[in-house]
Structures are given as structure tokens and as C-alpha cells.
């Protein structure tokens, strides 16, 4: 019996390490507080919440401690998403999940709650919801806190199913759904990539 739990714990730790490698700290120089971000491409594409990068200049700190200036590729304040670019290569990146997670699925949230470095918390998807302005949310039984914003919510396969965004109660939080994130990135990249670069 204890064997399975031990293995599950070991896998969980591996999963957290994989997700943590692609987690960055995001801040605005001179502004109070920090947020989180997710590396989605080895060459420096980073996804975060729009409310994390409300000013400039923006800096990003990688897990190896390297601090880099970031440029905003696109920002959607309503959907609370922002795409950033840092000048780097060979970064560990996470993949976006193909579909929304089912209620009851296990998830891991990575971020910097209250500034704590790269904290992980484990929970389940409690439900999916859309609000009155059409934003899609993944609801979780996790205690998201300031600093978690913009960090990855990953499924059991280590793919991003949401962008941790708000605490909705003492024990609950909501992440922008991977579906909204995909649509946002598609718009942003279409604007920025020249046909030659896209090929």
C-alpha cells in the first residue's frame, strides 16, 4: 500500500520539478509585488496575466537566477493575459494542453505566493465556468494567493491547462482556461510573426 503512495509522491515531485523549470518570476521595475509567468517556447515566449505587467520596464527572472528584460508582445486586459518575449535560447518550456481538464482531474499550481519562491500546490479541478464577458475559467480547490498570478496550472501529464489568476475564496481559485490562452496566443503570434518566420 505504502509503495503506491511513495511512487505517487515521487512522480508528483518530478512533475513539480518539470513545471518549476519553466516557471519565471515577473515584475515591473519600481512597482511593488511580483507575479509568475510560464515559458512556452525555448526562445523566450512567456505567458502571464495582464495584471502582472501593468507598467514598464518589465523584468523576468529565470529559475537559474538570470534576470532579463522583457518586451510585451501582446496584452489583453479583459482576458487578463499578456505575452512577453525575452532574448534567450534553450529555455525549458511547457506545452499547452489540447483540451480543457475534466472536473475531478488532478492539477498542480506553481507560482510565487506572497513572494515565496516557486511554491507548488496540489489539488483538483472543481469545475469549468464561463463568465458574463465570455472568459473561460478552470476552477480549482487551491489556495491561490498574490504572486501566484500568471503561473502555470498543469495537469498530470505536465501540460498547461490554465493560467492561475484569481482567488475566489479562502479555499478556491480560478485560472484562465487553456482554451482562452490558446486563442490569445494565436492572435498575438499572427500579429507578430512574419510569414517567413512562421514557416
Amino acid at each position: 500500500m505504502g509503495k503506491l503512495l511513495t511512487r505517487l509522491n515521487a512522480e508528483l515531485a518530478d512533475l513539480a520539478a518539470t513545471a518549476r523549470a519553466a516557471l519565471v518570476r515577473v515584475g515591473v521595475r519600481g512597482a511593488f509585488g511580483v507575479g509568475s509567468g510560464i515559458i512556452l517556447h525555448p526562445e523566450g515566449l512567456i505567458l502571464t496575466n495582464a495584471h502582472v505587467v501593468r507598467g514598464e520596464p518589465i523584468w523576468v527572472r529565470l529559475t537559474n537566477g538570470q534576470q532579463l528584460p522583457a518586451k510585451v508582445l501582446g496584452r489583453d486586459p479583459t482576458g487578463d493575459l499578456a505575452a512577453l518575449l525575452v532574448h534567450a535560447g534553450g529555455l525549458p518550456a511547457l506545452e499547452l494542453a489540447a483540451a480543457e481538464p475534466a472536473p475531478g482531474s488532478l492539477v498542480l499550481a506553481l507560482g510565487h505566493p506572497w513572494g515565496i519562491e516557486a511554491a507548488a500546490s496540489f489539488g483538483v479541478v472543481t469545475g469549468l465556468a464561463a463568465d458574463e464577458v465570455g472568459r473561460e475559467w478552470v476552477l480549482v480547490n487551491l489556495r491561490l494567493r498574490p504572486g501566484n498570478s500568471g503561473g502555470p496550472l498543469v495537469d498530470a501529464a505536465g501540460r498547461v491547462v490554465g493560467i492561475n489568476t484569481i482567488m475566489t475564496g479562502a479555499e478556491t481559485g480560478a485560472a484562465v482556461s487553456v482554451r482562452s490562452a490558446r486563442a490569445f496566443l494565436k492572435r498575438v503570434l499572427a500579429e507578430h510573426l512574419r510569414p517567413a518566420a512562421a514557416g
Binding site: 503506491l4 511512487r7 505517487l8 512522480e11 508528483l12 518530478d14 512533475l15 481538464p101 475534466a102 472536473p103 475531478g104 482531474s105 488532478l106 489539488g123 483538483v124 479541478v125 472543481t126 469545475g127 469549468l128 465556468a129 476552477l139 480547490n141 495537469d155 498530470a156 501529464a157 505536465g158 475564496g169 479555499e171 478556491t172
Partner: protein, 298 residues
Amino acid sequence: MFDRIKALSDELAALVQTAGESIVRVSARPHFGASGIIWSADGVIVTAEHVIEREDRIEVGLPDGRTVGARLVGRDPTTDLALIRAETADLKAARFGGLENLKVGHIVVAVARPGPELQATLGIVSAIGGPWRALPGGQLDNYLQTDVAMYPGFSGGALVAADGSVVGLNTSALARGVSVAVPANTLSRVVETLLTHGRIRRAYLGIASQPVRLPDAVRERVGRGMGLIVVSVETGSPADRAGLTVGDVIIAVGDQPVSRPDELLAQLTADRIGQPLTLRVLRGGQPAELTVIPAERS
């Protein structure tokens, strides 16, 4: 790479989907939805009593997306259970299971339908015990506590064990600060009674009481430290007719010593209705016996 977590996660999601086929949304209060568990395919649904704030215009949201009307069959505030009948007859009844195979530490899932969509959360069994009297006064056959967080609208939903069986009904009204579920054996007992009688019969005396420390001399004589002092007697009630007055201290009901209001409540079962019952009291410090004939609580 993460095969076991992935397998566990997929199983949990599948468990929620399957259990969710027997979980409905119950709309009988303003602002908040609530959940219900399909008891039988012909439309009988068990839910939490405290979410039924209106008895007319009860709406039920079915797993297939349809919304149908429902009427109240009966309610038992003491166990926080209510039974409603939906105007439909092609439902999938939940598969209920006992607590025999459930242990402290086992993983459980709460499945609910606060709105049109299914919701779920995860936890473990924190405590299992024997018979327990809930905050509103009802007797549960077992105490079943989990660390599952009760979100808005989760009351009336199912507590599901890893084998997919519904082991309890979740409600936030039975205890303060902890998640306690009504176990399936109690559900079964209350549902059968509500289906047959439309209500839960309880005996009633017509008094309010509170625990009181007995004087030392009396303590030695009766061998107990506490009694129940009568703080009000309803006019015309069984207690009033038996001559019980404010200030009397009840120390036993029949052969059973009582020193807390819930111990008194536990004695007022349906079979006591209309049957002479001896109350041992202290009146002015002196022992006395009174015979009361409990009535049925309306």
C-alpha cells in the same frame, strides 16, 4: 513519465463523470443553487433540507441538461434531509454503498451540480464513528467526517468512494467548521420513512432546558454531577400537563440519566409518542417523579 498520477487523475475524472449521471441541480432558494442525488429512476431525489427554502416552484436540473419541476415529498430538519419528486421518470439512480469498506485516510470525492455543470472536489476520510447526534438534533447512524471543502451549492451532493459508490450526502448544516456527510444507511432510513409517512415522527415534551451543575449533597445521592434545568414550559404541552415547572432539574428520563439537551432529545423517539414516561426530577433539591405522555412533534 508521470504514469501513476496521470492514471489516478483520469480515474478520478471518470469517477466524477459516472457519479455525476445521478447528481442533479436543485433550485429551491434564491441566489444559490444546490445539489441532489437521484434515489430512484422514477424521479425521487434526496437533497439537503436547508436548501429547500420554498416548497413550490422547485426546479431540478438534470444531468442531460433538461430542467423539470419537482414537488416536495417530505423533509427532516433534524438530519438535514429532504425528499423531492421530479416530474420525469427516466433517471439513473445513484449506486449507494455502506461504510464497511471505508477507512480513515481513504480518498473520497464530492460531486455536485451547483449550476448546469458538474463540479467536484477531492479529500480524504478524516473520521468514521458510531451513532452521532447532529447539530440540528437528528440521529445519524454513523459519524462520517472528511476534509472535503464544501463549496457553495455542494450541499445535497454526493460523497463518492473510490469504488464509485455514494457513501453519503454532503451538507454544511450538520456540524460547524468540519465537513460531515449523512451516511448512506441514515439516508436509506430517512428516505423510506419520508416516502411512507411524508415526515419523521418525533416525540415532544414542550420544554427548553440547559445543563446545570448539581449541588454536592445531591451529587452524592444521585451519583451524577449534572442535570437539565427546565428554563421554559410551553402552555398546554405534555410537560405542562404533567406538572413540570420552570426550575425543575431533570436527572433521568425513564432509566436513562440525562445531563445534556441532546441526551434528552435522544430519548424522544417515535415509539415514545402516547406512552407514559417517567421523569426523575429534583424539585427544590428534593427528588420527585412525574409521568409525562409525550405527544408527536408537529
